[in-house]
Symmetry: C4
Subunit: 228 residues, 4 copies
């Protein structure tokens, strides 16, 4: 596919996927964003900063290089652009990144507590606990570094950044959005579980077995949900 066609397609994909963040109530006002890597290029497509989800269109998505410099687009890119760009530079297998402050997951992040795995749905998608990343200020590479340090070599496509919110990764933007949706769903059920008592334990071998199966058998051939 030509670069132009690829970028056109990704502008549509990225603009459209924000509707899933809205549908699952993961975002308030403009506080969340999706990006996609342009395959084989040092480029990414990302949401403009502070623009309402209702107003997102393929044509107002921003194309940046992987240092976060705008290559195409009239608006300022997401204020989280540096974090997305760092992840793409450091993790070549990642094709999509999502950031939200979804409430249940962010509550675990605000306590600095990883979400322990007591649900088959969490074993399927996250392969175990959902980890906590460091507190980091916005604006430089610190958030990106914290994401990469936490998720490198970890099964989970989601990290709970301390006192902040959720970043998820995927082989493409849709997989990263799915991880963000499932992260909030799992964080909510884990919250409700612990609110009234203690979860029943799950054996490590069962978690491993569920994760392995989900990565290879679930869904349709060619659309497995593996992040990487």
């Amino acid at each position: 596919m030509s670069l132009d066609l690829e970028v056109t397609r990704l502008r549509e994909t990225v603009a459209g996927l924000h509707a899933e963040l809205v549908r699952y109530q993961l975002v308030a006002w403009t506080a969340g964003n999706v990006s996609a890597r342009v395959p084989g290029r040092d480029l990414m497509v990302i949401k403009p900063s502070g623009v309402s989800y209702d107003d997102l269109r393929p044509e107002n998505m921003i194309v940046c290089d992987l240092d976060g410099v705008v290559v195409d687009g009239d608006l300022s890119p997401s204020s989280d652009t540096a974090a997305h760009a760092y992840v793409y530079r450091a993790m070549p297998e990642v094709g999509g990144v999502v950031h939200t402050h979804s409430g249940y997951a962010t509550a675990w992040a605000a306590r600095g507590e990883p979400i322990p795995c007591h649900l088959t749905a969490q074993a399927d998608e996250f392969g175990g606990e959902i980890p906590v990343g460091p507190f980091a200020l916005i604006g430089g590479d610190d958030i990106g570094k914290g994401i990469v340090a936490t998720l490198s070599g970890h099964r989970s496509p989601a990290v709970l950044m301390r006192n902040h919110g959720v970043f998820t990764i995927g082989r493409d933007a849709r997989a990263a959005v799915k991880a963000a949706v499932m992260c909030e769903d799992v964080a909510r059920t884990a919250h409700l579980t612990r609110a009234l008592g203690t979860p029943a334990p799950m054996a490590r071998a069962d978690i491993d077995s569920l994760y392995d199966r989900y990565q290879t058998v679930y869904g349709q051939p060619g659309t497995r949900s593996t992040a990487r």
Copy 2:
């Protein structure tokens, strides 16, 4: 009705009923499914695996035999097909099966706690407590066996599978969907009740009386909600 007509009708019913799981927010992404038995045949109609609810159509529903082998359909069937099939083989009175990970009900499942009956709505639909089934790995007959062992001889059309989620049964798919909706509603109210204190007790005789009446008087003649 001819087999063709019956299957055509059930493809529409099963595809359409997934919208109720979405409407009542029982499912995230693709994590829940509905099936229906083809009356008088060793066949069932079920959701394809990993397909978005927005994309479900009568024509992409999958027809399987009661060993879970695909008889008609281009896509892979739900990864929970073996569990649905087991239930239809073991419980001839069941015409519909639903699976969700709805959050409040799944939180009770994750603690391994049955939902005690302190609400008239629960007495009506479930006839008492909603029971917990065993932990079981996906892929073989273990989940189906756990559902059948728990619900056989039990009034409840819903079982909370430990660390997993909800399976419900009904005389048809719509009744099973109703049981899934009411299970989450009751699980939520029971959660909210216990979060701030202790529920007022209900007498067993009152629960029995409510259950008996609901199975015979509620609704319109010919559409009582009895699961079996």
Copy 3:
């Protein structure tokens, strides 16, 4: 207005008001109902039993006399008809009755706890605490008697029936629906308040002052929200 015109108008009103129960998520499946008294007649208009909210139309509403006997309509009336009818017989100032199992309010009902008044919104609409009524079985006059005994001489247009749910009254059906909406809203905020600590006290004189003002000043002339 002629009886025919009045009944036609109330069929539309009652059918349409159920959409508010759905909008505010006060009801699951078919578990809630609205009725209206036909002014100056011993008649009421009420929802049919077990019919989906999507399928409610003016023409399938049921007209009953105040003993609950169907006067006009092809379907069975709500299984709560006897309770509605009892209220209209005993409280001539009541023109509308609503029943729901909305979750937060029903949780207070399941604990048998009245909702204490710590919010100006509750003082406005309910004039103080929202009281608990007795446990009563469906099918005879017991529920109606419990509602009337609890609300007679009480400011609150809502009663929390123990282990059951909410009944509200109003000068017309719309006022009763408003009371059902505000009851759940107040029950939810009161729940959230107490979940993390102790509410700040409100002085009785302030509650009285707010209630008096709301009944006479709020809204547009001729549409004050007084239940009675």
Copy 4:
């Protein structure tokens, strides 16, 4: 812009912004309102009292002077008009005011507890804790005085009025609505955080840094979210 054109524009803006209160479920029935100052005039545009959000139109918005006296409009203005007017008189930098009883924020208000800052999203928008204002009766200047006394010299554009609800301010009505949306979002995450434990602390210097950056860098040039 002529006064007529400005008022016409603000009638549209104010009527339309109420849809955001509904979308984010900050309001039940008619319990919340938005107003805007007419720039450079001693006038404001505000919601009519007790009118459903579905029925709001530019032409039924009410124009009042800054003593709350109706200048143009057939209906009674919001019963919170005196509070809005007081804020505009006392805080010339404020162009919009919003009032809600959104549940999570109101629960903090009912306990009389400020929301401590443990989230980057709260640091961004509120610059630290969200403060509690005094209990005040409706009808005179007491609520307005409480808002102004609490927010003057405070970074937060939101105040939690004790036992009552939320008032927010902004440089225009849209900014005040954003503050109301973010206030509930932050109040909810803070509630969920504390429900299961203790939030991780945030350094004052980090909160200051986030607040300063958000006021100057986030969003598009010319649309920064600074309240004042």
